[in-house]
Amino acid sequence: MPKIAILCYIPGMQTPITKLTLENGLLVLLREIRSAPLISHWVWYRIGSRNERAGSTGISHWVEHMQFKGTSKHSSSVLDKAISREGGMWNAFTHLDWTTYFEILPAEKIDLAFSLEADRMSNSLFDPDEVSSERNVIISERQGNENEPYFQLTEEVQAAAFRVHSYHHMVIGDMADLQTIERDDLYRHYRNYYVPNNAVLAIAGDFDTDDMLSKVRAAYESIPAGNNPPHKFRAEPPQSGERRVTVEGPAETTYVQMAYHIPPAHHPDFLAMMVLDSLLSGPSNLNLFGSGISNKTSLLYLALVEQELAVSVHGGVQATQDPFLYTISSIVHPASSAEKVISTVDDQIKRLQDQPPSGDSLARALKQARALFAYGSESITNQAFWLGISEMVATYDWFLQFLDNLAEITPHDVQRAAQTYLRPQNRILGVYQPTENGKLV
């Protein structure tokens, strides 16, 4: 297999990326960064809640938990201790489209990451006792989420948004499935989808690319390609009328969530949506670590918070494989109402639909994005995260060209996106209404 070296550059950071596919189908991305004596190693699997059907919701996340329970070679406590002893860090995330595992280690200890990840790509035990004990842990994780009004509202809005597509349910899964999924279900899911031909390996940090490539081959190339059964994705039909959901529960505060169907990351309109989000509710932070920036001069903050209709407002665009949602979330001011918040958001959207934003406001959004990228590039781990996630939702080129493509977005593009996607017929309105002793406050 020839080495395909793609020489591409992040502005100001002249370090090349190496991208190649091993014989067994494992896609590998390597990036040398010599700013600290660290290496960040990520394995991404193209499996997430998007791949789950009713009856097995939450299974991808549960499998992720079981991946920390040991293999015949590495018992669970040995794995944790080995990483911690070297001053490293490891963790995992399960999301809509993907599940990922990462280690950050001192550069000279990186062999440990290879040994652990290559092993648990196919040798995890899924011991029945561990499955049973982890069932309680996961149910407890869900109950912790349920304590938050915001989780309850998001769950209902998402369910209302996706009648057909499997973005319908939350990553944690439905309680009914968490109570009934069995060990063999988990193991089958694991063996089907934890295969090199369904995975991406992304490594960034203090290494020599040729040396690293030898390590990659030694650790991963002998793992055979697997079955990786195809998924039948059910496209969500276009929504043809506004949907509303209400959640009632003990609280003192009213929450509003407005969700609009938007295109996926690779769609040409996705970047126009990112600019629109930036204007309406402040820029979304693309970094895994570190906070974003405030949004106190965004259109919705000015119209809602400065007018004392809401005490906060936030927006979010997520990069996904299939069409997902742009959400605007707000905590209602005690002297205001959910309806006032919604009609004020509508007014602001209408203005963007009627008239394109100024060129200056787009230049501002671009500068904000440039700053957020700079903050993220302080960390080797963020850079390895970017390598991997861009392959999950598009390709790494998508990421590399992100700022350049963002600069190409015109005021007209933004206006058209507002007209196309931010229509009432295309949205779900969710309101969390506080109750006291079972009665609405």
């Binding site: 002249q14 010599r34 700013s35 600290a36 004596p37 406590s77 944790d80 990483i83 911690s84 002893r85 001053g87 490293g88 860090m89 950050i104 001192p106 049973s132 004990s133 309680n136 842990v137 996961i138 149910i139 407890s140 869900r142 109950q143 912790g144 349920e146 304590n147 009004p149 203090d206 529960g249 003990p250 609280a251 003192e252 505060t253 820029p283 670590f289 906070s291 920036i293 405030s294 949004n295 106190k296 965004s298 000015l302 918070v305 004392e308 005490v311 905590i331 005690p334 501002r364 904000q368 994005a369 440039r370 700053a371 700079a374 903050y375 590039s377 302080e378 960390s379 080797i380 781990t381």
Partner: protein
């Protein structure tokens, strides 16, 4: 000296990659402001971070939340710029600046592209020195603070912590929440904010760190430019901390929050201050108890073996005074008693027998090995520099740190554990459904 992206850092230079006297610049201005700076040219960004000794210790009981309210209002308008002008300047360049209150201090954190550092410092200086507390903005902020308190009342984790602090620090300022209570926040007037600012905000005791793509000498010039002429002879002295009364019995407090699916437990006592001689020994012990790997012995017993909790772990706060040393866990309401029993069992074992040589060596290796990771980002380095100054650890502290950690014995860990964690006097707070 800047390290360029393509310079290979070998192991022999690893130690000098840790901050030390040769690459941290520290100076004290004539008005008392201490500036620490270290360069990092790997990314075109810069952070500022620091504090002033104007925290909630100064709050009167009936106006609890005053320091926090005051500091939160600083960026709501200055004699030179409106709230919108301030945030328009910041957000237009993708910069951020936030200020918040704590018990002893008020703190600030900001970041920007290096080209916008002047703006960030100008805005900080204006907010600290010349806030005008516009009436309308003060009331808007009050509504936001009250909403946060309304959300707190429904939050099992926060309510358990609040109840725990009251049990452990009865009669001591640490029993009081910095964000106050609805009635105390309601009682604060605009005049209170102005007076609090006038009395307690000044250059004496202020510390600012600047880390990122800026030469430290230049960073110091920039700070001097906007803060060296700040003069406030009447600034109050930092508030003294009264002694903490020793606890003589175990106490439990239950907070009922209807409709919740999970209960939060906070269990523990007052621990050592950061400058206590046994802080590092206690810290290593805490790692064995509830941090190392998947949350130490507690994670193994409560989460891994019993499957009782999504999270469980222990925290040693340190700080200027006797901050809490506590275990926290989130469990199904039916499992609260069983989880508390398991936690108590682990604490009893922890204060009865020394940690094993292997456990100690593991945590020592972790403490030393994780330094480069914690110092990877500008914010991480800024936090490290701030701690050097706050606790007077010395500029060579991170270079000495590996030896300090490796010299601690399991006997010292046991002595520290016994000094603080007496199973007969622990406080337990639980918040959840009936």
């Amino acid at each position: 000296m800047p390290i360029h992206p393509n310079t290979h850092i070998t192991n022999s230079t690893f130690n000098s990659a840790l901050p030390g006297p040769d690459d941290i610049i520290r100076i004290e201005l004539a008005n008392g402001i201490v500036i620490l700076s270290r360069a990092n040219f790997n990314s075109p960004s810069v952070v500022i971070s620091g504090y002033l000794p104007a925290g909630a210790l100064f709050d009167p009981d009936q106006k609890l939340g005053l320091a926090d309210f005051t500091v939160s209002a600083l960026m709501r308008g200055t004699n030179n710029r409106s709230f919108q002008d301030i945030f328009n300047a910041l957000e237009s360049v993708g910069a951020s600046l936030g200020l918040g209150g704590a018990t002893h201090t008020i703190g600030f954190n900001g970041k920007a592209l290096a080209e916008d550092l002047d703006l960030l410092l100008d805005l900080l200086a204006e907010a600290l020195r010349r806030p005008i507390f516009p009436e309308e903005q003060v009331e808007r902020l009050r509504a936001q603070l009250l909403t946060a308190l309304a959300i707190r009342v429904q939050d099992t984790g926060q309510m358990a912590s609040l109840a725990f602090d009251k049990l452990v620090y009865d009669g001591h300022p640490y029993s009081r929440p910095e964000d106050g209570y609805p009635e105390t926040v309601q009682a604060i007037t605009r005049t209170d904010l102005q007076e609090f600012h006038r009395e307690h905000f000044g250059p004496r005791g202020m510390v600012i760190t600047i880390v990122g793509a800026v030469d430290p000498a230049q960073a110091i010039d920039k700070v001097s430019h906007c803060l060296a002429d700040w003069d406030h002879p009447e600034q109050t002295e930092p508030a003294a901390l009264p002694p903490l009364n020793p606890r003589s019995e175990a106490k439990t407090e239950r907070v009922t929050i209807p409709g919740k699916s999970q209960s939060d437990i906070v269990l523990g006592t007052a621990g050592p201050s950061r400058r206590s001689e046994d802080f590092l020994a206690a810290s290593l012990g805490n790692s064995v108890l509830g941090q190392f790997g998947m949350m130490g012995r507690l994670g193994e017993a409560v989460r891994e073996k019993a499957g009782l909790a999504y999270y469980v772990g222990s925290t040693l706060s340190g700080g200027v005074g006797p901050g809490p040393w506590y275990v926290s866990a989130g469990v199904n309401p039916d499992n609260v008693e069983q989880a508390i029993d398991l936690i108590n069992k682990e604490i009893s074992r922890f204060v009865t027998e020394p940690v094993s040589d292997e456990e100690l060596a593991d945590s020592q290796a972790n403490f030393v090995g994780r330094l480069p990771l914690s110092l990877e980002s500008n914010a991480g380095v800024a936090a490290a520099l701030r701690n050097l100054e706050r606790y007077q650890l010395g500029l060579d502290y991170y270079r000495r740190y590996p030896d300090l950690i490796k010299s601690i014995t399991s006997e010292e860990v046991l002595v520290a554990a016994r000094r603080y964690l007496d199973p007969r006097t622990l406080a337990v707070a639980v918040a959840g459904p009936d």
